[in-house]
């Protein structure tokens, strides 16, 4: 496992290793995946920390994400400016959080942000409607969707303010141990 690669400096790679859940090899593998998305855009030499953003359309066409109903939200949450265009840092961050080594709380935090469509730090009824619509793809009628949103708020809203805060969400995730294994994208 020598430092034969010329993409990152030794310090950069160490920093990535310490800040994500990936090993050196995986980071390099992810870098090449990132580079494959936009070969003209992404340089093969990151020692000078170039400021390169891969546009959302390319990120959203990755096989791991292309059919995910929430791909746009995922890209928005992890991107720098919330528009879905991701730098390498964002890319690594995203897959680090979605990997199986990330702890439950970190995943719950980001899941909360993904489901919070209007970015107001609460999952309100409108956010829930968006989520349910994306999940069921138009199979349910509007009345059913609003009924579902109501039920979800009933179940999960701990302080009864009509919307879910991060604590409510995390509390609910505690009752769903499957969350750790389902909120996981393998790359």
């Amino acid at each position: 496992m020598g430092n034969k690669q010329a993409v990152f400096t030794h310090e950069q790679l160490e920093a990535y290793q310490d800040c994500t859940f990936f090993t050196r090899k995986e980071i390099m593998r992810l870098f090449y995946r990132y580079q494959d998305l936009a070969p003209q855009l992404v340089p093969l030499d990151y020692t000078s920390c170039p400021d390169v953003k891969v546009p959302y359309e390319l990120i959203g066409s990755m096989p791991e994400l292309k059919d995910n109903p929430f791909r746009q939200r995922i890209a928005q949450v992890f991107s720098e400016d919330g528009d879905g265009h991701m730098t390498l840092d964002n890319f690594l961050d995203m897959f680090s959080v979605m990997s199986e080594m990330a702890p439950r709380d970190l995943k719950a935090y980001y899941a909360f942000k993904i489901y919070d469509f209007n970015n107001d730090d609460y999952i309100c009824a409108w956010d829930l409607e968006q989520t349910v619509t994306k999940l069921t793809r138009g199979e349910l009628s509007a009345e059913e969707v609003s009924l579902i949103c109501e039920k979800v708020l009933d179940e999960a809203d701990g302080d009864h303010d009509g919307r879910l805060s991060l604590e409510d969400f995390q509390n609910m995730i505690l009752r769903a141990p499957d969350f750790l294994s389902t909120f996981h994208i393998r790359i």
């Binding site: 800040c19 994500t20 090993t23 840092d89 690594l92 349910v132 701990g158 009864h160 995390q170 909120f183």
Partner: protein
């Protein structure tokens, strides 16, 4: 909770959850302020400072006190170095940026005293962007080096430890990289997960995990008993016919495969004097394998329990879980569409269940249901007992039967019957579903599992009883080898039946479902039944390793082949699961099953063998002894004579052989268990009280906001001019209560402004 005079002030210090807003700075939405939360509101159990905002989540996992401050503190939008320029996003200007800075400082301070391993773990777990984490890491390193420079001269020992830990961390990283590169089947599992989701993936993960056990057992037995034995092999005079692969007898009887082949002597090569006591090696190797498996199972079980245990008091029907636990591993387009459709169906069912859950059954209906359950249990237990009796009868008469039929393949009758039972009866149990009705679907799953487990465990139990009581006592030949051969045959027949089932049976089912009876459709992968088969096979392997040391190797090959066969069959003949299957809970249950009764049963069987049975007189490493355990006794005796090993003898006599020690140990363990149980009970009560407190606070909040609105209305009437300016700030947005929140927040400006005004 509220003091009257401070009503207005406290109202508006509403808990905004200031999550790291990675949204556009040019957004026209009102970005919530990062207000500090009044700690008086915060629940009693949180170990917070008043400054650090929200999320007591880390406090639930209170393993290190350093983590107390590492809750999800406000991840600032910009990196720490830019917090001072963060004026456009905070409502109250520099007050909040310095507040964030304080938080950042606190975070750094808390990270410094940690060990580097904990520090890295803490940095990784921070919900911040990569750049922020990098800067955090840099700052912490800088601070740390500043601090360590001062104590450089005093603590070269600490430096030494540091470099050792750094080297160890690098080694661990390299090791994990190596293990990852040789990790089996990563791509295949990704494809399976992509098409079928996490639940089916859990079966394959379980298979891979069991494979690791077998690989380890094989490596250990191969190194410590097979290789030494191979160096002193005797001639094998038997003829090799192809039937040995099925029966395990014949040519294989005199190979390293079975117990009978092993020598009981001390192997010596050359004049170097290095001796290898085969007896001790045999018993210690098998014992060591089992001990490692025991601890591995125990730790896996504990880890699963910790992650997946749900407090049954707060279990809900879980429509929220359906919504928020979308399976992100599914990546195939058709699978995603199917999953969306299935989710809609399930959600609809859930809704209708909720509507119907108040429907109470009449006494008649309940009685019918109850009697159906009782009848089903009686029938299933009866069938299981009948099967066991049949197996026992067949086993008893096996010897006579074999004497009458000289065909060497006749020994396969018993395994054939057992495998048939294992094939047919579980499917018969599944048919009970047509008659029994359950209130909750998971009861159905558990009942089916318990019945299957009862069947399989009783069959293994009956066979063990037969082997240990009849074969071992009555046989003239090498009874250990006989038992080893029986287990080998059982395993092989089981493997052949599984192959046939996967390749032929499921294929036929697909043909029937797609062509002939179209309404059936494709079948779904029955995870429970398959996992139970794996557990059954693994139990046999564990029992059989003592009698047939090559058995882990055979099971390794079997599992390897089964993985590919099941994978191919899955892709061809199955559709993704339609219902949510609680994979984590089920896995916890299966690992618990693997531990108890499977592994503990194995330990009991082997314990009886070693302590109570007489080894056969002319074969195997323990020939001539009265009991297997006598080898250990004689070893301890020989050690007694050597002065340098007296400590081993002391440990044996006072810790392992002494009753007092175990009595005291048991007492201590019971006391600790009781204490932990009481702590858990206390915590449950605490959780309930805190939950009620949250609800009450929510109600208080709404009440106070209402009051505030009323006050605002009254003041508006009194002072119309003061409020015209602020109305522009109120953006119409979303539901009413959000508006009220904005109103509340804006009101604080007005109140403080008004309070300052009279003073001015």
């Amino acid at each position: 909770m509220l003091s009257g005079g401070q009503v207005n002030e406290i109202i508006v210090e509403v808990e905004h959850v200031p999550l790291g807003v990675q949204s556009r700075p040019s957004s026209s939405q009102i970005i919530p302020e990062k207000t500090p939360v009044n700690s008086n509101f915060i629940l009693v159990s949180s170990i917070s400072d008043s400054d650090v905002t929200h999320s007591q989540i880390f406090s639930n996992r209170n393993d290190q006190k350093g983590k107390q401050l590492l809750r999800f503190a406000t991840p600032s939008k910009e990196s720490f170095s830019q917090t001072l320029h963060n004026s456009e996003n905070t409502g109250l200007g520099t007050l909040h940026t310095s507040h964030e800075n304080i938080q950042g400082q606190k975070l750094i301070e808390s990270l410094i005293p940690m060990t580097s391993r904990d520090r890295i773990k803490a940095i990784r777990n921070q919900p911040r962007t990569m750049e922020e984490k990098r800067n955090l890491r840099k700052m912490v390193d800088r601070e740390k080096s500043k601090q360590s420079r001062r104590i450089l001269e005093l603590n070269c020992c600490a430096q030494c430890l540091n470099s050792i830990s750094l080297a160890y961390r690098r080694f661990k990283n390299n090791l994990s990289e190596l293990l990852d590169s040789i990790s089996l089947w990563q791509k295949t599992l990704k494809v399976i997960g992509g098409k079928f989701g996490t639940s089916v993936l859990s079966y394959f993960n379980f298979l891979r995990w069991l494979l690791k056990f077998n690989i380890f057992s094989f490596i250990v037995t191969f190194s410590f008993i097979i290789i030494p034995q191979l160096t002193v092999t005797q001639e094998n005079h038997l003829q090799f016919t192809g039937l040995e692969f099925l029966t395990g007898a014949g040519y294989f009887t005199n190979t390293v495969m079975y117990y009978g082949f092993y020598t009981n002597s001390t192997i010596r090569h050359g004049n170097s004097g290095a001796s290898y006591n085969m007896q001790l090696a045999y018993i210690f190797t098998i014992g060591g394998c089992l001990v490692v498996c025991f601890f591995s199972l125990l730790f896996s079980m504990a880890r699963y329990f910790r992650n997946n245990f749900i407090n049954p008091h707060i279990y809900s029907r879980g429509i929220a879980k359906l919504i928020f636990c979308w399976d992100f591993t599914v990546t195939h387009e058709s699978a995603v569409k199917l999953k969306q459709k299935n989710l809609s169906t399930e959600v609809r069912e859930n809704l209708s269940e909720i509507r119907q859950e108040n429907v109470k059954l009449t006494f008649n209906q309940r009685f019918i249901r109850f009697s159906a359950h009782v009848a089903a249990w009686v029938v299933s237990s009866g069938v299981a007992i009948a099967c066991c009796a049949a197996v026992y009868y067949l086993a008893e008469n096996n010897l006579q039967f074999l004497a009458n039929h000289s065909n060497p393949g006749a020994v396969l009758l018993l395994p054939f019957v057992v495998s048939c039972i294992n094939l047919v009866v579980p499917r018969f149990y599944s048919m009970f579903r047509l008659v029994e009705r359950y209130e909750m679907p998971r009861h159905e799953v558990y009942t089916l599992l318990i019945r299957n487990i009862f069947l399989k465990i009783s069959i293994i139990g009956i066979l063990c009883y037969y082997w240990l009581n009849i074969v071992a006592l009555n046989s003239e030949e090498c009874w250990e080898t006989l038992i080893g051969q029986e287990i080998y045959r059982l395993l092989l027949m089981d493997f052949l039946f599984s192959l046939a089932d996967s390749l032929l049976g499921e294929f036929l089912r697909r043909i029937i479902g797609m062509r002939l009876i179209k309404s059936l459709g494709l079948q779904e992968f029955d995870i429970a039944r398959n996992v139970l088969e794996l557990i059954y096979a693994q139990t046999l392997v564990w029992i059989g390793t003592f009698f047939c040391p090559l058995l882990p190797f055979i099971q390794m090959i079997t599992l390897f082949i089964m993985f590919y066969v099941k994978n191919i069959s899955l892709m061809m003949n199955f559709q993704p699961p339609s219902k949510a299957w609680r994979a984590s809970q089920m896995m916890t249950f299966f690992i618990f099953l693997l531990f108890f009764p499977s592994f503990t049963g194995v330990l009991c069987t082997l314990a009886i063998t070693i302590w109570r049975l007489k080894p056969s007189a002319d074969c195997g490493p323990f020939r001539g002894l009265h009991f297997f355990i006598e080898s250990i006794y004689s070893w301890i005796d020989t050690l007694n004579k050597r002065p340098s090993y007296l400590w081993v003898v002391w440990i044996y006599q006072n810790l392992i052989g002494s009753v007092h020690f175990f009595f005291i140990l048991t007492l201590i363990v019971l006391i600790i268990t009781y204490l932990y149980w009481q702590i858990t009970e206390g915590r449950k009560i605490m959780i309930r009280l805190l939950h009620e407190q949250i609800i009450n606070e929510g109600k208080d909040k709404m009440f106070l906001i209402d009051k505030l609105i009323k006050l605002q209305g009254m003041e508006k009437k009194a002072n119309p001019t003061l409020f015209t300016l602020e109305r522009r700030d109120l953006e119409p947005w979303g539901p009413l209560h959000v508006r009220q929140h904005d109103a509340a927040r804006d009101l604080r400006f007005r109140r403080s402004f008004q309070e300052d005004n009279p003073k001015a």
